[in-house]
Symmetry: C2
Subunit: 305 residues, 2 copies
DNA sequence: GACAGGTCATTCAAAAAAGGTATCAACCGA
DNA sequence: TCGGTTGATACCTTTTTTGAATGACCTGTC
């Protein structure tokens, strides 16, 4: 039972006449007769009652006609879906996220992607840096978002955006009312730091900034993610340096302040990573969307130089 | 894109190797190579990445593989369903019912049919006698249940069962307390009669019974169906002759009584009707079920001679 | 009641499609 | 570098499908 026979069958079922059906199918009548007979023999079922007026569906034939239409709809769909998939417009993209990127940039990027490629299902996984690399290598994910990545030959990384750092301060702290905060003042305040596994990480970055400024920070607590860090600030554990994205987190008792003389290199990059040479069309779609996203954000940034 | 190509494609997708797939398909490798290429050309989509290790599905190929499995499942199902339909075990049977038959006999019969042929969907339509004949001729229904049918050449009728008549009496009537009721006594009591359209009908039957017994009944009201008739008995309109099936209707204030000297021919037949020469397998299934049903009921009847 | 005009079924040769054998080119690991 | 693997290609054979002509049957008409 192949699709040709079914198509022939459906045409005869519609026309109720072998001659007309054959004409519609651009074949002559005898082969059509034979194909119908073959289909009947194969199923062991009489599909038509032959009358002097033409071909009349039996109950079984009627059912098969109905089922056949479903089959053709599915085949048509399969063909179209396959074509869309080949263009990177349909499918599933497994993406790993972690850290403060999920608070602002990544949601906006994903929103744009969903609107540009509505038929691509994005599945998010929360994974730390090292885990992401491993998952990429095992093809469990196609894309990861993270910060502070060291270069690797089999993993390509692309900058998503670069953010300056802000200081999360407890509202009761004198720093909260102070008009201007200087970087060196942090030496006098206990500090909360968050850092995911894997070097280099955010702790390394902050420590080196402080050393450059000539002091050693007093670390009261190290935590695993921004949210916990800011929560500790709210509880009075101390101050905490966070990315601009991180400052979208608003907790009672926490305010964010700029530091006046923040070093120019005191920025933190959000990057995305993927397998070097991955020629997945879905990934290509995503990266092209990311490119547009960056250009869009560059435009809005230039308005505030 | 026919099913052979899809089957070949799926095998290659599973094996990830043309040689092994060809062996499984009992063909040699070169034609398989060609079929896969043809499928790719037809869709305009690369389905595999050829590597020195074998054939690796692309994203589009992966999707097509998934869809193909659905297609094969549907094809398999269509084939099986068609075969069951050809044996009269699957499909839809439109059945018309009317009158007191629906109160007892027909539900029991349908229950048996549903249990014998669970995949046949029985659709019930309420139609009077004449309407049923018309609907049969227009192929809107395949079967009708009715009483008192006159023979027709294009409609075959088959007896379902034969029931005696009972008298529905208002509980306050003297007849209700009387130990024995004689048929002639009906002359002294007003009577409710129900009759569907089309001759001969139940009214004709009762009238002729009364004339034979030597009296003319006093008809207080004619109604269209049993339920209404018995309801009027409950309201004190008079007595009403009903079939035994009809007496399963219990309304407050109504009791059913036998008539001692009921004439032997005072019975009423429930028949089913269908198009003469209808060779529908579903109908055949139903009629064979009906036959068994009648034998079953005959058995239970013989226990009370 | 013969006949014209429809229906589907059958026959046989031609065309098209699928399959098979032998061979090639590329890659990989020993 | 050299077997052993992979998929691709060329050429021929077999099978399947098709087409033109024709047959068999029914129906409504004259």
């Amino acid at each position: 039972m192949d699709l040709r026979k079914l198509r022939y069958f459906l045409t005869v079922a519609d026309e109720k006449n072998l001659g007309r059906a054959a004409a519609l199918l651009h074949i002559s009548q005898p082969p059509l007769t034979r194909q119908i007979h073959q289909l009947e023999d194969e199923l062991g079922v009489q599909l038509f009652n032959r009358t002097p007026k033409g071909m009349e569906l039996t109950e079984a034939g009627y059912l098969l006609a109905k089922e056949s239409r479903n089959i053709f709809a599915l085949v048509q769909q399969a063909s179209e879906k396959t074509q869309r998939a080949s263009q990177g417009r349909l499918g599933r993209l497994d993406v790993a996220v972690f850290g403060s990127g999920v608070l602002d940039t990544i949601p906006r990027l994903l929103l744009k992607f969903k609107s540009d490629y509505p038929e691509v299902k994005v599945v998010l996984h929360t994974m730390e840096k090292e885990e992401q690399i491993q998952a990429l290598r095992q093809h469990r994910i196609s894309l990861g978002f993270n910060r502070m990545l060291k270069p690797l030959p089999d993993i390509t990384s692309e900058l998503v955006n670069r953010e300056s750092l802000l200081l999360a301060v407890n509202a009761n702290s004198p720093l909260a009312t102070q008009p201007v905060i200087k970087f060196k003042e942090l030496a006098n305040h206990p500090m909360v730091l968050f850092a995911s596994s894997g070097r280099p990480n955010f702790v390394d970055k902050v420590m080196s900034l402080c050393y450059s400024a000539g002091f050693t920070p007093e670390i009261t607590q190290e935590v695993g993610d921004v949210v916990t860090g800011v929560a500790l600030v709210a509880s009075g554990f101390g101050v905490c340096l966070v990315s601009k994205s991180g400052s979208t987190l608003s907790l009672p008792g926490v305010v964010y302040r700029e530091i006046e003389d923040m070093p120019k290199d005191a920025t933190i990059d959000l990057s995305c990573v993927y397998r070097t040479g991955d020629n997945s069309k879905l990934l290509a779609s995503f990266l092209s969307c990311l490119q547009e996203f960056k250009e869009l954000n560059a435009d809005t940034n230039t308005t505030t130089p």
